[in-house]
């Protein structure tokens, strides 16, 4: 917690590897998370092959996965289950959250509040490396006997309790990831409360900072119960306790030698107490990014700034009391179901308010259709579809039919994949000039955007139909052995081909990203998008300490097209405009 920040003659390993500079740590988080996202996507491509062509050998690369996983290139059910569990785990805990909170939060929050760094630079460094170790443990688990965790990303007992060694690695990995997010969220909240520049009151904070603040509170308070649950499951697996093992449990006709008396529902309650707020951790930073980009590119003030802030606070509170809508089918009782159904309907209101204000902000604006804006605009209807299709799942009656079907998969992937991940792409394109001093190529950006937008829908839209037809989500053959699924089986191929297409159109992005770092068009100004928030007061590739002269906020964050001003944007950091 050193207060001094004088640097520049640091050795390489201190400047770029064990760095305490929030910007370097943010980029470390970003690169690591992008690699994990890509890896998680590859796991899914393997699964999609099996779903579209069940039992057929995967050509060419199928042999690489070993006799234990894919003999003669044909995927075994056990391996499919590992891929499923690890796809979810990696995407949520190692990909999207670290990118949204670790990378964007770390890089931008101090810049947007005019601070020289995070409040605790050493803790920040520790947070990244603990995350890194957690990721390594997850990857290593693929190589232990029996392979990685295979009980779904939710790790429901008693299945997870009796699963192979990979599950123990999963639990250990989660303990590291939880610790990392604890350190990170303490740091973020302290930074936002303590290091705001003079004049930057809470209502002058950009909405992005608000999103990060609430997300940090959710991580801070919702993750510990999962840690407690993880410790109990570790106890069950290592010391053979019976926290989650009910009395009289039989496996393959044999009674287990356990003391019994445990509760499987207990795990589900503790897990979803984290995992529902986690959904908002995924979405709030994305909403923040989209808000910044939409106001900037429609050259209009954000409509309903204050109400959006109240909404996001309310959303944060409510997200702690909706978790059991994931458990309507567990037989926990109609009274409890009714309560959680009511809170679930209530929590949709603030999301709708936020989304509506973003749409209204577009109205009458002079919109610039650059790549970040395209991704941000695509976020709105995609998140809209994801959110609205969640309502039938939140009603306990219709959930009876839809629970654990492909409908659920489609619903939350619309929220996270073309929703959050599109927002994260938008953020990468938008803040790239600040981090590197160069722009990403617009043409490649558009080649990345349009097919991605189409393929995302090709992948996920058919799943709604399959889910409504009743196809269950964790079937190894995609439903081929079920009579009722025959009519919708051909959709598996459409989704799979869409996934291939999505993979191919990420190539322009990867090329664009790497090429632009070195050869992209240089930006002349520190404020290339003519934006208003404080990060644009810092020089491009901000030095250690961020700002060259003390910053002060003179007005709210979204003062575009102010009548009487000389230009169409009035930055927070300029006294006279």
């Amino acid at each position: 917690m050193s207060g001094e920040l004088q640097h520049y003659d640091l050795p390489f390993w201190k400047k770029y590897i064990f760095s305490q500079d929030h910007k370097v740590i943010g980029i470390q988080y970003g690169i690591t998370a992008l690699i994990f996202l890509f890896f998680g996507f590859l796991l899914m491509l393997l699964m999609r092959w099996q779903l579209a062509y069940p039992g057929q050998p995967l050509p060419v690369i199928g042999k690489w996965f070993g006799e234990a996983n894919m003999p003669d290139g044909v995927m075994l059910p056990e391996f499919y289950n590992q891929l499923g569990a690890m796809h979810g785990t990696i995407m949520v805990f190692l990909g999207v959250v670290p990118l949204a909170v670790g990378a964007f939060g770390n890089y931008l929050v101090p810049l947007q509040i005019g601070a020289p760094d995070m409040a605790f630079p050493k803790l920040n460094m520790a947070s990244f490396w603990v995350y890194f170790v957690g990721g390594v443990i997850m990857l290593v688990s693929f190589f232990v006997p029996g392979g990685a965790a295979n009980s779904g990303w939710t790790s429901y007992p008693p299945l997870a309790n009796i699963a192979t060694t990979g599950q123990t690695y999963w639990l250990l990995g989660m303990v590291f990831l939880i610790t990392s997010s604890l350190l990170g969220s303490v740091n973020t909240i302290t930074t936002i409360f303590q290091l705001r520049a003079p004049g930057l009151s809470f209502f002058r904070l950009p909405f992005f900072v608000w999103g990060q603040l609430i997300a940090a509170f959710l991580l801070l308070l919702a993750f510990p119960p999962l840690e407690a649950a993880g410790v109990m499951q570790l106890m069950d697996r290592v010391f053979h306790t019976s926290f989650f093992m009910p009395t009289g449990l039989m496996i393959s006709g044999q009674p287990l030698d356990i003391s019994g008396g445990g509760s499987v529902l207990l795990w589900q309650h503790l897990f979803w107490f984290l995992a529902h707020p986690e959904v908002y951790v995924l979405i709030l930073p994305a909403m923040g990014i989209v808000t910044e980009i939409i106001t900037n590119n429609s050259r209009k003030p954000l409509n309903g700034h204050k109400l959006m802030i109240y909404s996001v606070i309310f959303l944060g509170f409510m997200s702690f009391i909706v978790w059991a809508h994931h458990m309507f089918l567990t037989g926990m009782g109609t009274a409890i179901s009714t309560f959680f159904q009511a809170t679930t309907m209530i929590i949709s209101i603030p999301s709708v308010i936020i989304l509506s204000y973003l749409f209204i902000t577009l109205w009458g604006g002079s919109i610039r259709f650059n790549t970040p804006m395209l991704f941000a605009l695509a976020f709105l209807p995609m998140f809209g579809i994801g959110g609205l299709t969640g309502l039938p799942l939140g009603l306990s009656t219709s959930d009876i039919h839809l629970h654990d079907t492909y409908y659920v998969i489609a619903h939350f992937h619309y929220v996270v994949a073309p929703g959050t991940i599109f927002a994260l792409f938008a953020g990468i394109y938008y803040w790239f000039p600040k981090a590197t001093g160069r722009r990403m190529n617009e043409l490649l950006g558009k080649i990345h955007f349009w097919p991605s937008f189409i393929f995302m829908n090709v992948i996920f839209m058919p799943m709604f139909i399959q889910g409504l037809a009743g196809v269950s989500r964790r079937l190894y053959d995609g439903g081929a052995s079920y009579d009722f699924a025959q009519g919708v089986l051909h959709l598996n191929k459409i989704s799979t081909h869409g996934a291939w297409g999505l993979a191919i159109v990420q190539i322009p992005f990867i090329i664009n990203f790497v090429w632009s770092i070195f050869k992209g068009q240089k930006v002349e100004s520190d404020n290339p998008w003519e934006a208003t928030t404080l990060e644009w007061a810092a020089p491009n590739c901000p030095p250690h300490g961020n700002f060259l002269k003390p910053v002060k906020a003179y007005r709210g964050p979204y003062e575009y097209s102010v009548p009487g001003a000389k230009k169409d944007f009035s930055p927070q950091f300029e006294e006279h405009t």
């Binding site: 303490v186 303590q194 510990p224 119960p225 306790t241």
Partner: protein, 199 residues
């Protein structure tokens, strides 16, 4: 280049009235409260769902538990007094009081280990019943927190105390932070003792 420093590492911010680490530790403790809160909730849920549940005193030794409670409360008091001593610029008294705090914590751990030993001797392992499972999990996790506290306090008592000569105010703050954590660990025990031993 700029030698910008992070503000409010020692002095309080004008509008929040806190220095950075103090806000940080409160947030950390909020998270810890959720961790132990989840375990206490699990205890309730498991006990409500159990066919029969032993009375804690029939398995655990209440006198030993009560003795440990006294130890921890006393250590919280000495921790507080050591901070007060620093505020009064009495470094010597601080050393003695923080030293006593660490010793009391070590004594607590010894008694706890002896209690564990008594259980293991009678083959009362965590796998034997849900009560023992939750007893070992909760007290074990609490003991880990005690160990963490001992490590931090020993550092501040030994090498860390050199900061007193260069930045006395910042060092005093550090003791305050360590104290807040220590009181929290103490508080958790004040719930654990009645819940596990008496109820």
């Amino acid at each position: 280049m700029s030698t910008e420093t992070i503000p409010y590492t020692v002095e309080s911010r004008y509008d929040t009235g806190l220095y950075n680490a103090k806000l940080g530790i409160w947030l950390f403790l909020a998270s810890e409260a959720m961790l132990f809160g989840a375990l206490f909730s699990s205890y309730i849920l498991l006990r409500v769902g159990a066919v029969d549940w032993p009375r804690g005193s029939s398995i655990l030794s209440v006198p030993l538990g009560a003795f440990n409670t006294v130890l921890l409360i006393s250590s919280s008091l000495t921790m507080l007094l050591s901070w007060a001593a620093l505020r009064l610029k009495d470094f010597k008294k601080f050393k003695i009081l923080l030293g006593i705090t660490i010793l009391l914590a070590l004594l607590f751990l010894s008694v706890k280990s002896y209690e564990y030993y008594l259980k293991f001797e009678h083959h009362l392992f965590a796998s034997k019943s849900t009560f023992l499972a939750i007893y070992f999990t909760m007290t074990g996790l609490h003991a880990l927190h005690i160990i963490g506290g001992i490590v931090v306090n020993t550092y501040l008592w030994g090498p860390g105390s050199r900061m007193w000569k260069t930045q006395p105010e910042r060092f005093t703050n550090r003791i305050e932070i360590a104290g807040l954590y220590w009181h929290f660990v103490d508080l958790v025990w004040l719930f654990l003792f009645p819940v596990l031993y008496l109820l």
